[in-house]
C-alpha cells in the first residue's frame, strides 16, 4: 500500500463506481471530443489524443460510460511508460482519506485493473484506490 492518510487522491467515477487515483500519478485531467483511432491495437486502446502538441495514448479499460455528453474525460497518468490517458466517467473532487486499508471485495466490473485497496474520506464515502503504475504496466503484452 503506497498511500497514507495524508496523501491526496483524485476522486472520480468509473461506471458508477467510486475510484481514487493518487494525485502523484496524475498529470492532469483532460477532456476531448475526438480520439484518433489506432488500427491493429487491442480494443482497450481507445485512441490517441493531442494534448498541447504531445501525442498521448488513451486507454478504455472498463468500457467507460461517458457522463459528459459527447466528451471523453480522462485522467492523464504519468507512468514509467510515459503519459497515458485513462478514460473515466466523471471527475469528482480531490479527496483525502481518514482510513485506508485492503479492499475486501472488488466489484467484478473493476477487476481488469489492479486496485491497491480502499479508502474512506472525511464524509465516510468509500473509494477503490487504483495503483496507477501497475494498472498501465498490466496492459502491456508480454514479449
Amino acid at each position: 500500500m503506497n498511500g497514507n492518510g495524508n496523501s491526496q487522491y483524485l476522486g472520480c467515477a468509473i461506471n458508477g463506481f467510486p475510484v481514487a487515483i493518487p494525485v502523484a500519478n496524475v498529470q492532469e485531467v483532460f477532456e476531448t471530443r475526438f480520439l484518433a483511432k489506432v488500427p491493429k491495437c487491442p480494443a482497450f486502446i481507445a485512441g490517441l489524443v493531442n494534448i498541447r502538441g504531445a501525442i498521448v495514448p488513451v486507454l478504455d479499460l472498463w468500457q467507460v460510460e461517458r457522463e459528459g455528453a459527447d466528451l471523453f474525460t480522462m485522467a492523464v497518468l504519468s507512468t514509467a511508460e510515459g503519459n497515458v490517458g485513462l478514460l473515466i466517467s466523471r471527475l469528482d473532487d480531490l479527496v483525502r482519506f481518514t482510513r485506508i486499508g485492503p479492499a475486501d471485495a472488488l466489484p467484478s466490473e473493476l477487476a481488469v485493473a489492479p486496485f491497491s485497496g480502499a479508502g474512506l474520506d472525511e464524509s465516510g464515502k468509500m473509494y477503490f484506490v487504483l495503483d496507477a503504475e501497475q494498472c498501465i504496466a498490466g496492459t502491456i503484452p508480454r514479449e
Binding site: I45, L48, P57
Partner: protein
C-alpha cells in the same frame, strides 16, 4: 572492475563537459591521423599534428587534475616526440601500441564523462610504451586493444553513451537564423499594428490586400525559418566516417588482409538524428565488406587481382536523399550459395529458386535468420544479420539495396532522407479514417476502375499493366479487418509503392492532398505493441491526429505471404 562515483565540483561541471567534448574530437582525429601515419610513415607534418594533439590533451587533463589520463597521454606523447625529433621510426607495431593507448585514453575519458572512478591498470600499456620508446617495440608485446576492454574499441556502440547531447553549429547558420527571426518580429509588428488600427475603428485601406500580403510574407519567413533551424541540425557524415580508417586498419591486422579504405564525400550533411543512428549499421556493413568481401592476399593474387583489397565508402546527394555506398572489390556474392542456403533454411522452395531474378536472390540476405558466414568470426559474425541492418536503416526511413558480381565485388547502397524532422505525406482515406503515406514511398497512383485490374490466383488481386503484374494489398484489410476480403474492391485508388525493384499497389478508398508534416513517434507505451504498420503520428493544422503508415510493411505482407 572496482568503481566509485567521481565527484566533480558543480562550478567545474561545465568546464569538464567542454573538456570531454573537445577531447573526444581530438581522440577521433587521432585515430584517423595515426592510421594515416601508419600508411605514410614519413609524413612529418602529420607527426607534428599528432604530437600537438597529444600535447594539448596532456595539458588539458593536467589542468583539470585527471592524472591517470595525463600520465597515459604523457607517455604516448614521449613516443611521438621521438619520431618528431627523428630519433625513432614509425613501424606498425609502434602504431599498435599508440592506438591501444588512444583506446585507453578514450576509456579514461569515458569514465570522466560518466562521472565514474574506475580502477584501470595502466602499467602494462605504459611498459609497452616505454619499451617502444627505448628500443623499438618489445618482442611479443600484446598488440592493439588487448590492454583495454574490448568495449572501448573504436566505433562500438558504447561510445554513444559518452557523447553529450550537444551539436556544434556553424555561426553562419545561427546568424542566418537570427536575421530570419528578426524579420519575423517585424512582420508580427505590422500585423499587430493593423489589428490595433482595426480595434480603434480607424479606416484601413484594402484590408484584404494587406492580409494576403502579410500572410504570404509570414508563410515565406516561417518556411525560411524551418529550413534554417533544420540546417542547424545538419552534420557532416565525416563524424561517422572518421572512425572507419581505424576499424579497417585493425581488421586488416587481425585477419592478415591488406585493405585500402577510400573515403569520399565526407562533407555530405545529414540530420543529426540520422548521423547518431547510422553508425552501428554502417560499421557492420564495413566490417562485412572487409571480412566476407575482401579475400586474403594470396587468394587475390591467384584471382589476378591486386593483393591489396579496396573498400570504397562514399556519400553524396541524389535529389532529396543522401546516398551512402560501400563498395568492395572482393569475391562478391555467389547467388548459387544464397539459393542453396535459402532452400536449406526453407525460406524459399526449389521451384521458386529456379525462377528468381538475381536481385531477388541477393535480397534474401536481408531476411531474418539468413547468414552465409561459413564460420562465426570475431569480426562480423556477431549474431547480427543483415536483417538487423535493414531494420535499423528502415527506422531512419532509409532503403538499402545490394548488387554483387561473383569474383568482382559487392556494392551496398543506403538511400536516406536528409532529415527526419519533417516529411511530405499524401493524405489518404481508408474506412473513414485519414492516414498519411510518406511521399518517398509512392511511385504512382492508379485510379480504379482501371483496365487490367482483376482477381487472379486464389484470393489475391492483381493489376496487370503492360509488361508487369502488380500485386494489390487492400489497406483496409491490413489495418482494420485484419483478414482478407475475397472479392476485389472495384472503387478507389492504388498507391503504387516500390522497394528494391518490387512493386505493390496499396488499395485505399480515397486520395486527398499533400501535407508537409512533422512526424512524432507513438511513444513508449504504444511501442510495446509493435505496431509495425504505423510509422508515427502527426498533428494536422486543425489539431487532429493522423497516423503515418509504413507503406513498406503493409506492402511487404503480401509478398511475404507469397514467398
Amino acid at each position: 572492475m572496482r568503481e566509485e562515483d567521481l565527484i566533480i565540483d558543480p562550478d567545474m561541471e561545465e568546464i569538464v563537459q567542454g573538456f570531454v567534448i573537445e577531447s573526444t574530437e581530438y581522440l577521433e582525429h587521432l585515430d584517423q591521423d595515426l592510421v594515416s601515419l601508419d600508411e605514410n610513415p614519413g609524413d612529418m607534418e602529420l607527426v607534428g599534428k599528432v604530437f600537438r594533439a597529444f600535447h594539448t590533451l596532456k595539458g588539458n587533463s593536467r589542468a583539470l587534475g585527471f592524472l591517470d589520463m595525463e600520465t597515459m597521454v604523457h607517455r604516448t606523447e614521449d613516443v611521438i616526440r621521438k619520431v618528431r625529433d627523428g630519433e625513432a621510426r614509425v613501424v606498425p607495431a609502434m602504431m599498435d601500441v599508440l592506438l591501444a593507448s588512444v583506446d585507453m585514453v578514450k576509456a579514461l575519458l569515458n569514465d570522466i564523462s560518466e562521472k565514474k572512478k574506475r580502477e584501470r591498470d595502466l602499467a602494462p600499456l605504459i611498459a609497452q610504451l616505454q619499451a617502444v620508446n627505448e628500443d623499438g617495440p618489445a618482442p611479443g608485446a600484446e598488440p592493439a586493444a588487448a590492454a583495454t576492454e574490448p568495449s572501448v574499441a573504436a566505433g562500438t556502440s558504447t561510445e554513444k553513451k559518452t557523447a553529450a547531447p550537444t551539436i556544434r553549429v556553424d555561426t553562419i547558420k545561427l546568424d542566418k537564423l537570427l536575421s530570419t527571426a528578426g524579420e519575423l518580429v517585424l512582420s508580427k509588428n505590422r500585423l499587430l499594428n493593423f489589428t490595433q488600427r482595426l480595434e480603434q475603428g480607424q479606416a484601413v485601406a484594402s484590408p484584404e490586400e494587406f492580409l494576403n500580403e502579410i500572410n504570404a510574407q509570414l508563410g515565406f519567413l516561417v518556411s525560411d525559418m524551418q529550413v534554417d533551424v533544420m540546417s542547424t541540425r545538419m552534420q557532416p557524415i565525416s563524424r561517422v566516417f572518421s572512425k572507419y580508417p581505424r576499424v579497417v586498419r585493425d581488421l586488416g591486422r587481425e585477419t592478415g588482409k591488406e585493405i585500402e579504405l577510400v573515403i569520399t564525400g565526407q562533407e555530405t550533411e545529414l540530420d543529426n538524428a540520422i548521423i547518431e543512428e547510422i553508425g552501428d549499421p554502417l560499421i557492420h556493413m564495413v566490417r562485412n565488406s572487409c571480412d566476407h568481401g575482401v579475400e586474403m592476399p594470396d587468394a587475390r593474387v591467384a584471382a589476378g587481382k591486386n593483393p591489396k583489397g579496396r573498400v570504397e565508402l562514399s556519400a553524396y546527394y541524389e535529389g532529396n536523399f543522401a546516398i551512402i555506398s560501400i563498395r568492395d572489390d572482393g569475391k562478391g556474392i555467389d547467388t548459387e550459395v544464397i539459393k542453396r542456403k535459402a532452400i536449406e533454411k526453407k525460406l524459399i522452395s526449389p521451384e521458386q529458386a529456379a525462377t528468381m531474378a538475381k536481385s531477388d536472390i541477393l535480397n534474401l540476405i536481408f531476411l531474418p535468420g539468413f547468414s552465409t558466414a561459413e564460420k562465426v568470426t570475431a569480426v562480423s559474425g556477431r549474431g547480427v544479420g543483415m536483417d538487423v541492418v535493414k531494420n535499423s536503416i528502415g527506422k531512419l526511413k532509409g532503403i538499402i539495396e545490394m548488387d554483387s558480381e561473383k569474383g568482382k565485388g559487392t556494392v551496398l547502397k543506403i538511400k536516406l532522407p536528409l532529415t527526419l524532422a519533417s516529411m511530405i505525406g499524401l493524405e489518404i482515406e481508408v474506412g473513414g479514417i485519414r492516414y498519411l503515406v510518406p511521399q518517398e514511398a509512392i511511385v504512382e497512383i492508379v485510379r480504379l476502375p482501371a483496365s487490367g485490374y482483376a482477381a487472379a490466383v486464389k484470393d489475391k488481386t492483381f493489376l496487370f499493366r503492360g509488361n508487369y503484374t502488380l500485386p494489390v494489398v487492400n489497406v483496409r484489410d491490413m489495418l482494420i479487418n485484419g483478414n482478407k476480403n475475397a472479392a476485389p474492391v472495384q472503387q478507389g485508388y492504388l498507391i503504387v509503392t516500390s522497394e528494391v525493384e518490387k512493386r505493390t499497389g496499396l488499395l485505399v478508398d480515397n486520395v486527398l492532398q499533400q501535407h508537409e508534416v512533422v512526424v512524432k513517434p507513438l511513444g513508449k507505451y504504444l511501442s510495446r505493441f509493435h505496431l509495425s504498420e504505423i510509422n508515427g503520428a502527426t498533428i494536422m493544422g486543425d489539431g487532429s491526429i493522423e497516423l503515418v503508415i509504413n507503406a513498406s510493411v503493409i506492402a511487404g505482407f503480401q509478398t511475404q505471404g507469397a514467398a
